[in-house]
């Protein structure tokens, strides 16, 4: 509706895809740069993003930690999601990335059996606590992963921008800072 109205009044409209990986982000930023007459600034943003990603790749962690973005099990990002791309760039493994499962249910039972090294918790957003943040507080998850839960800005994982590389850098730092794991189940 908004696009129709904008076209009707003759407003200039630029339409872009959503980004599910860093290749998408490069393509979209270039397109935006060309469309608004700022290709050099677009190239600079991409250069900065690629430099951060290259630095992460050049200094891989000693062990690739197994993680999952879990804020309640109703809809967990798997393959072909920006979250998966950020986790991979940070040097970790997304255990929810199963073939054919982009967003899927990953209940506490599956979580316990999969035994991830850490949980990425995106349930906290600005404003009052949401329904999902309530669901992400299962008592057994609190007990087993209370000190191995990394809070992240979920919006930054859903809207692909050059700054998504910053999210990967932040995630790497958070993973490096995790305390050593105790005995597992």
């Amino acid at each position: 509706m908004t696009r129709k109205l904008a076209k009707r009044v003759g407003a200039r409209l630029i339409e872009i895809d959503s980004a599910d990986d860093f290749a998408d982000i490069r393509r979209i930023v270039r397109q935006m740069g060309d469309d608004v007459g700022e290709p050099a600034r677009a190239a600079e943003l991409i250069r900065h993003m690629d430099a951060e990603l290259a630095d992460l790749a050049a200094h891989p962690p000693k062990r690739r930690l197994r993680v999952v973005a879990w804020s309640g099990g109703a809809s967990v990002p798997g393959q072909h999601t920006l979250t998966n791309e950020i986790i991979t760039a940070a040097g970790a493994v997304n255990i929810a990335a199963q073939p054919g499962r982009n967003y899927s249910t990953f209940d506490v039972e599956e979580l316990l059996v999969a035994d991830p090294d850490a949980l990425l918790y995106g349930g906290v957003r600005e404003g009052p606590p949401s329904l999902r943040s309530e669901q992400g507080q299962h008592r057994i998850v609190r007990e087993l992963y209370g000190n191995r839960r990394i809070t992240y800005n979920e919006a930054a994982h859903e809207c692909g921008l050059p700054q998504s590389a910053d999210s990967a850098v932040a995630l790497r730092r958070a993973l490096d800072a995790l305390p050593p794991r105790g005995p597992t189940l």
């Binding site: 309640g72 099990g73 109703a74 809809s75 054919g100 499962r101 967003y103 899927s104 249910t105 209940d107 506490v108 039972e109 599956e110 316990l112 059996v113 957003r125 404003g127 009052p128 606590p129 949401s130 329904l131 999902r132 309530e134 669901q135 299962h138 008592r139 057994i140 979920e154 189940l185």
Partner: protein, 330 residues
């Protein structure tokens, strides 16, 4: 069908419930052999199989029993009280009122400041919606059903308004999903929160057999037998509000169990309303357990929500009921 002896149907219903409960402990999205689960529970040390049973599947099964019994018993009481085979908590706006109360509490973060906010607001919503229905629908069963539809619509509109003014698309999505109903990832915390209120509601509803039997003869006859009609209605409303309100506040909306359970038992117990109460509660619990097992073992990447499954299974039953009523209507 000739009514079975008094104890047979409750015993058979209990057997069905026990079977469903045991099955629910052994079936889940993750396959663990019954032997491993048994050894895990017996092992005093912290272990995966033990946790799966004691912290996940057992509380889930107990919650399913409590919620299913609430819905089944509420349906039986409402059908007896209103002398209408279509009556159930959802039809009278009670379920949607409870969902509205619970969504307000959880969404605005009231539960973080006061632990009992969700069940309390769920019950306030349920009792408020039921009271509105009874207030506007007094007079005849038809007006009561119409009032129920109106109140359901009103509660639905308020829920839609909450979605409308959600501060982000994520929040709106979360609310929509939550309202589809689920027992997934529920814990002992949820049972501790809801069970006391559900228990009181069930006790109130279980004591209504005599009034329902008298009402089956007609209101004038019930009055002559010493039944206080207004007090009976208020008690029914309170019982349904407590049980369904607390149940909905921890599971979201789950439809049709309250409608189906009494109809499944009625052919075997005859048409004495009080005899439907206990079997309806037991069958309601068994039905919800079976539906919950279905949501776990039906192979879908995203969980089939419990409320969706009960509606998919219950709607054809509703059609069958309407067709049967048309055939038997004078």
């Amino acid at each position: 069908v000739k009514p079975a002896p008094r104890f047979v149907v409750p015993l058979l219903s209990l057997a069905a419930l026990v079977l469903a409960a045991v099955a629910s402990l052994f079936l889940g999205r993750v396959q663990v052999s019954p032997a491993d689960l048994f050894h895990g529970v017996m092992n005093p040390h912290l272990n995966l199989a033990g946790l799966v049973v004691t912290e996940l599947r057992l509380p889930r099964a107990i919650l399913a029993i409590l919620v299913g019994a609430s819905l089944g018993l509420s349906g039986a009481v409402l059908q007896g009280l209103l002398r209408n085979p279509l009556a159930e908590p959802g039809l009278l706006g009670v379920s949607s009122g409870a969902a509205l109360g619970a969504v307000i509490s959880i969404y605005f973060g009231l539960a973080h400041n006061f632990g009992l906010a969700t069940p309390l607001l769920g019950m306030v919503g349920a009792i408020g919606a039921g009271a509105l229905t009874f207030a506007f629908g007094r007079g005849s069963t038809l007006t009561l059903i119409l009032a129920g539809a109106a109140v359901s619509g009103l509660m639905g509109a308020f829920l839609a308004m909450a979605l409308n003014f959600a501060p982000s698309p994520y929040a709106a999505y979360e609310m929509s999903i939550w309202m589809l109903g689920s027992l997934s990832d529920r814990s002992w915390d949820h049972i501790l929160l809801a069970a006391p209120f559900i228990g009181v509601g069930l006790v109130i509803l279980a004591t209504m057999g005599r009034a329902m039997d008298a009402l089956a003869l007609g209101e004038a006859q019930a009055l002559s037998l010493g039944i206080h009609l207004d007090r009976t209605r208020v008690l029914a409303l309170l019982g349904v509000g407590l049980a369904v309100g607390a149940a909905t506040s921890v599971t979201g909306s789950i439809g049709f169990i309250g409608l189906v359970a009494p109809h499944l038992v009625r052919p075997f117990v005859g048409h004495q309303p009080s005899r439907t109460l206990l079997p309806s509660a037991l069958i309601g619990a068994a039905l919800l357990l079976i539906a919950d097992i279905g949501t776990r073992i039906i192979p879908t990447s995203s969980e089939l929500r419990l409320g969706v499954l009960t509606s998919l299974l219950g709607a054809p039953f509703f059609f069958w009921l309407v067709v049967r009523l048309r055939k038997t209507a004078p």
